[in-house]
Subunit: 264 residues, 2 copies
DNA sequence: AATTTTGATTGATTTAAATCAATATGTTGA
DNA sequence: TCAACATATTGATTTAAATCAATCAAAATT
């Protein structure tokens, strides 16, 4: 655990001790007893960081915590595969994960990138408990596995939790719908612009940003061939829209790129 | 109301009077007091026909029934529009409805076709209560509008209902995901085959079937231009895969068409 | 019945993007 | 340090599908 991370935690602790929000004192007691790991301090971490898990009460939190476990992955490793049984809801503790559909002739389609403290998996929940996409690490990554049966119990006992979970499902769906239109109707420059804006603004939340995606990943994200993606990227570079430096990409003309994204 | 429909109802009534399933006697009492219309006998109809609404108890059913109303549409009429507030969950009582995304330059993308006793709307539920697609009638259609606040109350009070609703959301999502891959990876013949198989097997559930979709609708369903769709359809006809007669299409070689769908 | 309008069909042409092929650059491992 | 391999880039060519332009057929309107 880095020093920065440690001091950050201490700061949050102090702030919360003086606030009455979320029954902090009670939660503190549970926290001390929870299993801890390198990457998180038990479900209380999520309880504070995730708008979903913060809705659980002590008892529910303990239930979720009971069977949870963490796994680390190196870049490129698969976390779960499309078609297999969905036995856990996953929470990304650190790193970056890609969710993709395995299509025809070995062609994949990256649906979205997951960043820390976001949930994934569970699309088959209450349906047929299967995974409908594959998840793979893009980085050194740690993932927390929450038993799906325990999760389901919480959905049943806690209406706020159920509502928030439905919100999560719908938010993801709505995002996928927007990508659906983008990939079927925009042409190459618009789709490449979308991918760059998505990474800078939503995923890495910095500009310039260091990409851990391969060109192949980018291609699967924009539903283009690798070569076509590279060509458009080069055009953007030649036009001064972006600056590339090693693994870093900087969006130099944000407004111009947004315009390309909108025009399609 | 047609005679066939009437006798069908009487038959169901008799069968249920002798069964102990679903507290039928209690429900009968409510039924008599419920608002009735040409197309349905109040929410009890749904209570019997929909796997979702059949999970509601008397009280919840009465709540849902309180503010519900029915509207009829002629072919082509819009039911709700993408971007507007989602104030109701809708249940199709008769006819056929297309759900489509409004994309760029007036191009639409038909997500799915809804058939009677299926629910639609509510994708923005618990999220931002907006409609993320447009719904329009493909036929003479009647739709039952259920107040979204009443629906939400049922989700909170009835965990079985909540679970079934999540199942519905996930089932739809999973279908959309499969279409996502199909439309971005298959080429024209595969997509046209998909559309024909979908209509015959899932929507009209008959072969031959009478199409109420225009060529433009087909194009928006396959993400092709109208002309390209027509060309492939003609190819299929020339090859004897399908037989066309007026508004009717018959899939003559089901296995061959399925093969084309799979190959892409 | 004649006319206008709308939707469906067919053909010719253009365009976007994939594929194929070659080269370059970077990484890993002996 | 250099080979072996993977990944990235660039160029030439092909292909799939859109667009453009007519024509045809079927409704709707006068």
């Amino acid at each position: 655990m880095s020093d920065r991370f440690y001091y950050g935690n201490v700061l949050i602790l102090c702030l919360l001790l003086f606030s009455k929000k979320n029954n902090f004192k009670d939660k503190l007691l549970i926290m001390i007893n929870f299993k801890r790991s390198v990457n998180c301090g038990g479900c209380n971490d999520c309880n504070m960081k995730s708008p979903l898990f913060s809705l659980l009460n002590e008892e529910e939190l303990a239930l979720v915590n009971k069977d949870r476990f963490e796994v680390s992955y190196r870049p490129g490793e698969m976390i779960f595969k499309q078609g297999t049984a969905s036995t856990h809801i996953l929470m990304l503790t650190s790193g970056l994960v890609k969710l993709y559909l395995e299509g025809y002739n070995g062609k994949n389609l990256i649906l979205k990138v997951v960043k820390p403290h976001q949930m994934f998996g569970g699309r088959g929940l209450f349906y047929d408990n299967r995974n409908y996409y594959t998840a793979a690490s893009l980085d050194n990554t740690t993932v927390c596995f929450v038993n799906v049966e325990n999760f389901k119990k919480c959905v049943r006992t806690n209406p706020d939790f159920a509502e928030k979970f439905i919100e999560h499902l719908n938010r993801t769906s709505v995002y996928i719908l927007s990508r659906f239109v983008d990939l079927t109707q925009k042409q190459m420059p618009g789709r490449v612009a979308d991918a760059l804006l998505y990474l800078a603004n939503d995923i890495y939340e910095s500009n310039p940003f260091k990409v851990t995606l391969s060109r192949q990943d980018f291609a699967e994200m924009t539903s283009l061939s690798k070569e076509s993606f590279i060509r458009i990227l080069k055009e953007f570079k030649d036009e001064g829209l972006i600056v590339m430096n090693g693994d870093f990409i900087e969006i130099a003309k944000m407004d111009a790129l947004k315009k390309i994204s909108q025009v399609g």
